[in-house]
Symmetry: C2
Subunit: 79 residues, 2 copies
């Protein structure tokens, strides 16, 4: 089963990387970029077809390694 | 309008970051992770409601700054 995990800084947390990218885009003339947050993502191939198990395992991976729940939120998509 | 850009190394390109994350997950006991690719993503707020314009602008941002088309592929989602 394929899965995608997306990790972003929480809305209340500063995002200096996103700020820098937005400023670079503005300098390139993309004035329509009102806001930008930068995150990371992971595309996984899981050796299971059990959606409930996959979701549980992915949440554990996020809590332990892929994200820092104190300052980041994560999304799990199964596909 | 909200948009999400996702950038991953092309399938034929090595992904040492993804390999390191997968190996760390295996060490944590997540033996079901058969493959993992690591990428970056950007959530944008655009000051336009014109989907066609937004898609064109985002493609240009990807080609010029957000991705390296030689070794990375990108996806644009409008939401």
């Amino acid at each position: 089963m394929k899965a995608r995990v997306t990790v972003f800084p929480r809305p209340e947390v500063l995002d200096p990387q996103g700020k820098a990218v937005r400023e670079a885009l503005l300098r390139l003339g993309h004035a329509e970029v009102a806001d930008l947050r930068a995150g990371k993502c992971f595309d996984l191939e899981l050796a299971t077809e059990d959606h409930e198990l996959a979701r549980r395992e992915l949440a554990e991976m996020c809590e332990r390694l892929l994200a820092n729940p104190l300052v980041e939120r994560y999304e799990i998509q199964l596909g």
